[in-house]
Symmetry: C2
Subunit: 573 residues, 2 copies
């Protein structure tokens, strides 16, 4: 490709619309352009990088034995109603009305479609295991699209769905995908760490997310340097030491005391009350599918709504409104408690188990109880794991302190079980002739997001540093003089032919621009290898080879191609 | 690929849902499955064929210098309002509402998006010519989706858009695409004929459609075997001999006569009236953007609504309702005429120019006028070309009789001019520094439709006959005995390795099925070459090579690979 023929609208300035570096670089390097919020056009160079990521994904899915298919983006709502997700996923479902007033949904994912297909095509244990994947455009009604391709209304995903006869076979399919994902991200030059993930309300059994550590990531991962424990904080647990004994006599019973104006954990922790947060019981009220429930936590702990959803078995809940709370409890938030309270179900975090000498709201504005012993004074409906771990807490495996790191989720493997096959009737006859639901797994990679994550992880102050495997072009040939018959252009043309013949993707910067402009653009876009061809070095029979992330090399003209091939081989390994 | 690993659900029976042979074969060969009306899932083999068509399209577009991009399917309605197509294209536009109550459209095409992009990126004559293309999923609100992939709600198109500084340059861009299209369809093994096409209300200058002759096609093409004239009947013209003189005396003036119960051309042609259709004037009433107009044609001619749209400059019209007609004209359809009628605009087809001795309705139920001389008795607002040519009429170029043939439109090249660049402000500074709209062309190929058209054109009673270039697999290896260590399976494995190493796409039918079943499936799917490996021929040191459309060849085992490569080379030429 000749630069003057391509469309590479690099920008000197950082567009105001872009908050994070990878989004800025996508725009500045002329890889994408915004059509409108959350919708992007891939320009030629951006599309080339995207296609390379796609091709790596495809090759590794094929290698893992998955079969590529292509499903429609438009889907009938009926199958979403059958699976139950017409309700539970409604926040992200774009709905389409046709002229016949029939409704459609735009697929954010394809469990319903593939399971419908499989229900019609697979009926015997001899036809499984099967794993189907597609690389296809998804739609998500993002109210706040942001960070460029990271959270867009329309994006490209690789989604795969495995079907097995038994749980053990499904586990093997899961493991294959887990390993394929490790290869995929490694080939993309991406450091992506598998972490334990929430299975939430999808009804799945377990799952891992592949996380790219990045300060701008929308996820938090708790991990331990010592053991190999790593989990999304939505799922992470820790070993929490029991509270020290309160020192109170066991005969003390709940005593109400006035706390005028105290409505937070922090204010009760101050004088004159001085109740340490860990000795307080925090009482939260949630409206869950129309009914109120209480969630109790230690005062120094934070509720994890993802864990709460898993406990409740539904994501359809929200914090109750003050008016709803007042009506049910007789007090405002800040004075709530569950002592001797049996009107609502009480879910208590396991960190509260057995605690005594606690303080909590008295369900009367301006009053609290002290000397509360939870198992004696509060009727706990269910002990649950609903708090968020904090950095420094002990690793559940080895006890060393956990660290917490922000990260970008680029992939997700998920053991689904039989939720969808049961709902959509994907049954098979097992070896005994018994009709049984297929055991499913699903496996996603955000392809457009992965492309951006590579940039987020690999750049410097001058621009992107593409790995060889996903660079739009591997080599940028930069003759410094492009006048008609200049020897620099002539050599560039010759190297272009030789490298192209060896299967290398080359762009020839044939612009009549100053060397500084050309070098800056080449670094901004981040081609792995630049070959500078100037008259001075040419007089010495040399060209200048500059790996994007390495030092400039003066190389004999005759050795240039071999040197490039060597650098590429090193970059690919 | 091993057959047992793939998913190839061939069907013995013809599914009732499929009317045309290509649709039947797509289903029977296990290439696609219906999700719901107008929405299809590509199964692994169907997707392979589709990808091969895509790749041919991509290579030829690249070769023609076009740049691949990727635009979103979701589009903001604002740009459709700017171009005016929010109204004119509303019948096919799917509309999407998000949770913030904002409306989006699902793109059936991308003129608005690409022109918006170009408006931001191209500003100088030095940046053109440029041609951008994408291979992308389109959406069309088809009320009556049918014929499988031919007319679906969701389909894959290659759409390209050229931008030039001058009309001549735009003409050159058009010509490049025209030639690229000829190469594309030829490489797909498809006989696709370029025909002149209507430019309709798109505001374009001229266009060609690429048509695949097929009885099941939704288009009609008029063509001449003698000259190279070929045009969509929506656009086609002919040389029409003038009506013979009526023989009536010129002094005769319109005379009303009773025609009780006569309301059609045919009934007036019968005794006792016996007015030949060509001596009748047919009067049609249309409601055009809220106003009625009359369209006059010779009684033996048919109105062409596409031509009428071009004449009217709008596609927003419909035949008037009987009540509307009665109110405006004082009579019902069948008794209408324009003699001495000046309340509505009269568009008369040029075939009526100068005719005398005509009969037409009298605007009074049960009465007609005879002795009508059109130029004397009817106030024609505009003479227009609005009739549909018929087979047997004279070619406009050479006078030989035209033929009419049904056809499938697989591609369309269109010189747009400045309609979109003006509306969406895609301007550039010309060599004199003057701000000027870019001259555009647009170029579409229905990729999924092309894939099906190949089948519609190339099949026999046993199934599909894929050309080598687009077959899901080129070679089907068919060992007749697949037991563990059988010599037939062993040889099949060996040939599989050898052919794969040469870059040939091979499927190995490792099913434990009767040879008849295997052969039938292989023919149904239509792999170009089958290699049968049976014990009997193996004993003679031979395999049986069966080109899908040729005779069976007994070939020495050692020569098998060479023979296959020879057949492939012949198939590709």
């Amino acid at each position: 490709m000749r630069w003057t023929h391509a469309l590479i609208p690099t920008l000197r300035e950082t567009p105001a619309e872009a908050e994070i570096i990878s989004h800025q670089l996508l725009l500045r390097a002329g890889l994408i352009r915004k059509l409108t919020g959350g919708l992007y056009i891939f320009l030629p160079l951006g599309l080339r990088a995207l296609r390379k990521v796609e091709q790596i994904v495809r090759e590794e899915m094929d290698r893992a034995g998955a079969l590529e298919v292509l499903m429609p983006a438009l889907q009938p709502p009926e199958i979403w109603k059958q699976s139950g997700r017409y309700e539970t996923a409604q926040d992200v479902l774009f709905k389409v009305a046709d002229h016949a007033k029939k409704e459609w949904v735009l697929g954010p994912t394809h469990e319903e479609v593939i399971t419908t297909l499989v229900a019609g095509e697979i009926s015997s244990h001899r036809q499984v295991p099967r794993n189907f994947y597609q690389i296809q455009t998804k739609f998500r009604d993002e109210i706040r699209p942001r960070f460029g391709l990271m959270r867009a209304k329309e994006f490209i995903m690789k989604d795969a769905y495995s079907f097995d006869a038994t749980d053990e076979a499904a586990q093997a399919s899961y493991q294959k995908m887990y390993e394929a994902y490790q290869r995929i991200f490694a080939r993309c030059g991406l450091k992506a760490v598998p972490v334990e993930a929430d299975t939430g309300v999808m009804g799945g059994k377990f799952s891992h997310e592949f996380m790219v550590p990045a300060e701008t990531g929308e996820n938090e991962v708790a991990y331990c340097d010592h053991s190999d424990y790593a989990a999304n904080v939505e799922k992470a647990i820790s070993q929490l030491p029991a509270l020290p004994a309160s020192g109170e006599e066991a005969s003390l019973t709940p005593e109400k005391f006035a706390t005028p104006g105290v409505a937070t954990i922090e204010s009760l922790a101050k004088a004159p009350y001085s109740v340490a947060p860990e000795r307080q019981i925090k009482t939260l009220v949630y409206l869950v599918e129309g009914k109120l429930v209480l969630a109790l936590l230690r005062g120094d702990h934070q509720l994890n709504e993802t864990k709460l959803a898993a406990v409740l078995g539904t994501a359809t809940f929200r914090p109750a409104e003050p008016a709803e709370i007042l009506e049910a409890m007789g007090a405002h938030p800040g004075s709530l408690g569950a002592v001797q309270f049996d009107k609502l179900p009480v879910y208590a975090d396991v960190a509260l188990r057995g605690v005594t000498g606690m303080t909590t709201g008295a369900n009367q504005d301006g009053f609290h109880y002290r000397h509360v012993a939870i198992e004696r004074d509060i009727k706990v409906t269910r002990w649950v794991e609903i708090r968020t771990v904090k950095a420094g807490e002990a690793c559940p495996r080895c006890g060393h302190p956990l660290k917490i790191q922000r990260a970008i989720e680029v992939g997700h493997v998920f053991k689904l079980g039989i939720k969808y096959s049961q709902a959509l009737n994907a049954m098979f006859l097992d070896e005994n002739g018994k009709k049984t639901p297929l055991v499913m797994g699903c496996y996603g990679i955000g392809v457009t997001r992965t492309m951006q994550a590579i940039i987020e992880q690999s750049h410097d102050k001058d621009g992107i540093i593409w790995p060889v495997s996903t660079a739009p072009y591997t080599v940028c040939l930069t003759p410094l003089n492009v006048a008609g018959a200049s020897p620099t252009l002539k050599l560039a043309e010759q190297l272009y032919q030789e490298l192209t013949a060896k299967g290398v993707d080359v762009i020839l910067d044939d612009r009549d621009e100053r060397p500084g402009v050309k070098f800056k653009d080449s670094e901004l876009i981040g081609f792995p290898i630049r070959i500078g061809i100037g008259e001075k070095s040419l007089a010495k029979g040399e060209v200048e080879i500059k790996p994007r992330a390495g030092a400039l090399l003066a190389v004999k003209t005759a050795d240039a191609v071999a040197k490039v091939m060597e650098l590429i081989a090193a970059g690919k390994s």
